[in-house]
């Protein structure tokens, strides 16, 4: 099984920046988030980028954007380019195909997030130099590493599920982005609305958020994301079966 997964990883890694024959387009889609989250924001915010929640925002958006681009190419792309049937007619077990593809997407999304964080750390330190190197607070560092990993895994599992129901890469990408960005958008609008409100309820929510223990909040978030990730991964594994893929 391990050898089969490594075979799929070998192929996925070679295909990573070559989908649709445009390596330039793929690299461009990678450069933009790196430039915004790893250079521009740390440059503007300086040490505030390290000590505040900017790195968490980076850890949310980078895996979503990168894995959200890779996974539809990897799964819906196989269907769209008519390579899935041939792959399924080979001796590879279903799980090896699934795990191999998901692992590459997660490593790519998570790895790039960590690189962006490191780049941001260097730039924030360089632009806001205060005589010593400033590092992420331990709980933020933990949140950055674990949340980005879990979000990459969630995005990959959800992406598999959506890709298998989509006939095209474009359709899968749009559906995946809408499914993941919609809750974030709703959350953002809700907070904006609450903070702009005047009155007792708004004040109570603000107080509750301010009094929230940072460590507890991070651990609860990680636990919730872990449960979501496990459920989605299980659903993707159940869905990714030859009989269902060919018979559907």
């Amino acid at each position: 099984m391990i050898a089969d997964i490594l075979t799929v990883i070998w192929k996925e890694r070679r295909s990573l920046f070559r989908h649709h024959g445009s390596r330039l387009r793929a690299i461009f889609s990678l450069v933009v988030p790196i430039a915004v989250f790893g250079i521009l924001l740390p440059w503007q915010e300086g040490s505030g980028w390290i000590e505040g929640f900017w790195s968490i925002i980076t850890c949310v958006f980078i895996p979503l954007l990168l894995v959200g681009t890779i996974i539809p190419e990897s799964f819906a792309g196989e269907r769209e380019r008519h390579t899935l049937e041939t792959l399924l007619s080979s001796r590879l077990p279903d799980q090896a195909i699934l795990f191999g593809k998901i692992i590459v997407a997660i490593i790519y999304g998570w790895g790039m997030t960590l690189i962006v964080l490191l780049l941001g750390l260097i730039i924030a330190n360089a632009t806001g130099w205060e005589g010593q190197i400033i590092l992420f607070p331990p709980i933020i560092a933990l949140a950055d590493v674990v949340v980005s990993l879990l979000l990459a895994a969630i995005m990959a599992s959800l992406g598999v599920f959506i890709s298998l129901k989509s006939a095209t890469v474009q359709g899968a990408t749009q559906m995946l982005m809408a499914t993941t960005l919609f809750p974030i958008l709703i959350l953002g609008i809700s907070f904006t609305f609450i903070f702009s409100m005047k009155g007792d309820l708004s004040q109570r929510i603000k107080n509750a958020l301010e009094s929230l223990d940072q460590t507890q909040a991070v651990l609860i978030t990680i636990a919730v994301l872990f449960v979501i990730c496990s459920c989605l991964f299980w659903a993707a594994a159940v869905r990714f079966k030859r009989q269902k893929l060919i018979g559907s």
Partner: protein
């Protein structure tokens, strides 16, 4: 008795109310090129998918290379190769990478993969282009490469689903030559679906014909032509008047007579000695330029079989 590569027993597959494969029982001996014919929607691709263990039969069963399709589909796929409806190649990868990927899938060692890539690409005349990505390759070149890919792991059984569909005449002829060479040199069993009767006549040792999922004929191409196609005489000349045609139609062994411009086709109910008949026509004033005696082509046999089943 020859060992069997494929044996199906009342194989049936239903999709809702549609019976795509209906009670199919066939036997394919090892080492032959077996043609599986039928019109669009006859159930050919569904049959291949069942035999490869990609979908389960609703009823009946099949054994491939001694393995049951329900219980041991993984073993069957390990010993088989398949070129399905599409070449299934990764266009963003090079030709060599495509073959290497499938070599790795079948767990060949690195040195085995390299040797095999060189052998196969040389055999199909694409060794010099091994480093090129496939995006700009012609359909014929991709199909040749896909054929090579099915052989990378020395399979004992290969499924080809319409391997020359959509190719130009030259490319199709090259693919046919490649299949013949590979069957001879690699000694594998080929299970080929096609619409192309010329291809069947050139390639296949045995054929099965299905319609609406049901088997309507099976045997060697020559047998099918003998059983399903009547013997005939084609005469090119002048003077085929009404009297001559009436005379021919009145003969007991003549089943039909067709006249198209200068060509008269006489179909017989059975094989007979046709020389006296030609002499009678000459005596009746017919000027004969050419006489051809033959059997129906496989295409005509196929059409007849399809019409009989309607």
């Amino acid at each position: 008795m020859a060992k069997l590569a494929i044996r199906t027993d009342q194989l049936t597959r239903e999709f809702g109310s549609l019976r795509a494969v209906d009670d199919l029982t066939i036997e394919v001996p090892e080492g032959i090129i077996f043609g599986f014919l039928g019109p669009n929607g006859a159930g050919k691709t569904t049959t291949i998918n069942i035999l490869l263990g990609l979908i389960e039969p609703t009823k009946g069963g099949a054994e491939l290379l001694g393995f049951d399709v329900r219980e041991h589909s993984q073993d069957i796929r390990a010993l088989s190769g398949a070129l399905l409806e599409y070449p299934g190649l990764y266009e963003q990868l090079s030709a060599a990478d495509n073959l290497e990927f499938y070599g790795r899938i079948w767990r060949l060692t690195r040195s085995e993969i390299q040797v095999r890539i060189k052998d196969l690409l040389t055999q199909i005349g694409l060794w010099e282009r091994r480093g090129e990505r496939l995006a700009k390759w012609s359909r014929g070149m991709k199909q040749k490469l896909a054929l090579a890919r099915t052989l990378i792991h020395h399979p004992r059984l290969i499924f080809l689903d319409e391997p020359t569909a959509g190719l130009d005449v030259m490319a199709a002829a090259t693919i046919r030559d490649d299949i013949t060479n590979m069957a001879r040199e690699e000694g594998v069993t080929f299970f080929i679906t096609t619409h192309n009767m010329t291809e069947v006549e050139k390639l296949c040792h045995e054929v099965a014909v299905i319609r609406q999922g049901r088997l309507v004929a099976v045997g060697q191409p020559e047998e099918l032509r003998r059983h399903a196609g009547s013997p005939r005489l084609e005469i090119i000349g002048k003077g085929f008047n009404g009297d001559v045609i009436n005379l021919l139609e009145g003969l007991p062994d003549v089943s039909s007579v067709e006249l198209k411009e200068d060509q008269l086709t006489i179909n017989f109910a059975r094989d007979i000695d046709t020389a006296p008949l030609v002499n009678r026509m000459v005596a009746s004033g017919v000027q004969i330029d050419e006489v051809r005696k033959g059997k129906a082509s496989l295409e005509e046999v196929f059409i007849t079989l399809m019409e009989e089943e309607k």
